[in-house]
Symmetry: C2
Subunit: 339 residues, 2 copies
């Protein structure tokens, strides 16, 4: 059965059946012209929107429907995490090909709703429309943060240390594994494993972002949805500083390194540009470094120091090469045509 | 020049050049991972999202880019109007075909930004992505309304009178005029006029919605984006009442009536199903009818009484036919497959 055999109302009813009870601050939920919510006292609100487009951001040949729903929300939750915000509600706008399978629709919603539930995020509304084109999921999330305590990317100063949460490259390796497994001309066959799971169902650093907002040790924060290199460029640009990144310090996932090394691919270059890990990049004033490391529980995330902010405005990567350090401009995706 | 020759950053810069200065309650605007806004005291927040898809909701052959941008925002503003909310901010998510002309991009943004400025709505962020498919504009708006004074569609009682703002059918006639003019097999040629303007650049009833929320005379309110018949069904269903609609009372636009009559099309049927007028449907308790009519300035909108809520649960349309009234079930778009 395909979605266009149902009415919009029936499709909305299928979504609602998957949703938990609405919280009492949701004064008007799904079913009216708009949602009405009571704001929280003494908190600022954080809003962001991101779209996933089939054929650009995911390939339905090897990304199952629940992972599409999960990823569409994760990319937005990661933006909230970057601001230190606690998720509150989402609006889910789905642009569906007429022949989209109803079973896939249910599974997509299930992936979205499961991740939402784990972060106590409530679906307040959305939109459904058919399309002659590809599947598009456009998700808006609203979160909140204590007044004037939102993290931004613009607060770094020269001398601040740059840290990255977790590991880099696993999602990129996972995507390549899935592509290889779907390619009949290769004999690669891995369709599960930690890297693949990291690509399909990334865990946005929501709790970590909230902790960072509370402990006030970081001067700047952003997520790495465009990759570490681009992240450093953007944070440095917004903060008006330069930066040195130490290539040999990058916390590259061990599985990803083995995968890339085994194929003669430069794992450092991959880790610098990979955008699907959804880790955080933060800047920390040296005097706050001890407070920074002490207040992040180890079960939450490990941070790795990857570089330093500088006063000279240059953004470079340093790499040990046969005993001597070499420096080069950090590759920049900012010139890339828009995706 | 086409959009894919520019970087995402350059496209965002082109949007920002068209925006007015951000208000001081926008603590972090475009350019970070998310927007941060300070909420208003003693107000509830109203949120809605709507997508326009090329080939479904508009035809680029005869809808100019600025009208696409205008309409994408208007449909959302109309939802805020239905709740009695004052617009506050928008997030603009654009899914662009790679070959989309840069000039059309600028004009689309211009149509969006012009309507936003007239309603003091600020663009707080958005998303840009390319697509192998059609143009999609997905717009989220946030508005606010005095605490607990949001209008809903669920408050009507038996005996309440049903009123419609403005006139019906003009946008539908305008769309047909544009289609006819674009069709080489006809000799119709009108490409401007009041009906066409109504279709291309509808004026959502934002100020009217705010007035209705303030004067507390209406028991239910919704916009007519799915047409009057569907609106009556939805309001009656949400309120648990029946309704009688008087077909002969419908405020059909004079130009639309001439157009439909001249082509042997039933203007009443068109006025019942037309969804592009963006008028409001309200229910008013008879005792509040005088207050209702007195507090709406005549330059804002004329309301026309089109029916009454009933206790029996039936939803019917009454029509004078050779001296005798006939009653029939009100046509219902609720069974229609989703669009």
């Amino acid at each position: 059965m395909i979605v266009s055999e149902l009415t919009e109302r029936e499709l909305i009813a299928r979504i609602r059946r998957q949703l938990p009870t609405a919280p009492d601050w949701m004064l008007v939920g799904i079913g009216d012209d708009a949602a009405v919510v009571a704001p929280e006292r003494n908190r600022d609100e954080v809003l962001t929107v991101d779209a996933l487009v089939e054929g650009i951001h995911f390939d339905r040949a090897f990304v199952p429907p629940d992972a599409i729903g999960h990823r569409a929300l994760a990319v937005n939750l990661s933006d909230l995490a970057a601001m230190g915000a606690t998720p509150r509600l989402a609006l889910l706008s789905m642009v569906l090909p007429a022949a989209f399978q109803l079973d896939d629709f249910d599974r997509l919603v299930s992936g979205f709703v499961s991740l939402a539930a784990r972060h106590r995020l409530h679906v307040a509304g959305g939109n459904l429309t058919r399309s002659p084109g590809p599947l598009v999921l456009d998700v808006t999330v609203l979160g909140s943060v204590k007044r004037r305590q939102a993290l931004t990317r613009s607060g770094a100063s020269p001398g601040d240390e740059l840290y990255v949460s977790g590991t880099l490259g696993a999602a990129a390796a996972g995507l390549e594994m899935l592509r290889a497994a779907a390619d009949p001309t290769t004999d690669a066959a891995a369709t599960n494993g930690a890297s693949i799971d990291r690509y399909l169902r990334p865990e946005p650093r929501v709790r970590l972002g909230v902790l960072l907002s509370k402990n006030r040790a970081v001067t700047a924060c952003m997520d790495l949805s465009d990759g570490l290199a681009e992240g450093v460029h953007q944070m440095a640009g917004a903060s008006g500083v330069g930066a040195v990144v130490n290539a040999d310090a990058l916390p590259i996932s061990a599985e990803a390194r083995r995968w890339f090394d085994g194929r003669g691919i430069d794992a450092v270059a991959e880790a610098l540009t990979a955008g699907d890990d959804y880790e955080l990049l933060v800047a920390v004033h040296p005097r706050a470094a001890r407070r920074f490391s002490r207040t992040i529980p180890h079960n939450e995330a490990q941070f790795t120091r990857v570089g330093t902010c500088t006063a000279d405005g240059n953004i470079v990567i340093r790499r040990a090469n046969e005993g001597a350090d070499t420096e080069a401009g950090l590759p920049h995706a900012g010139y890339r045509h828009f995706r």
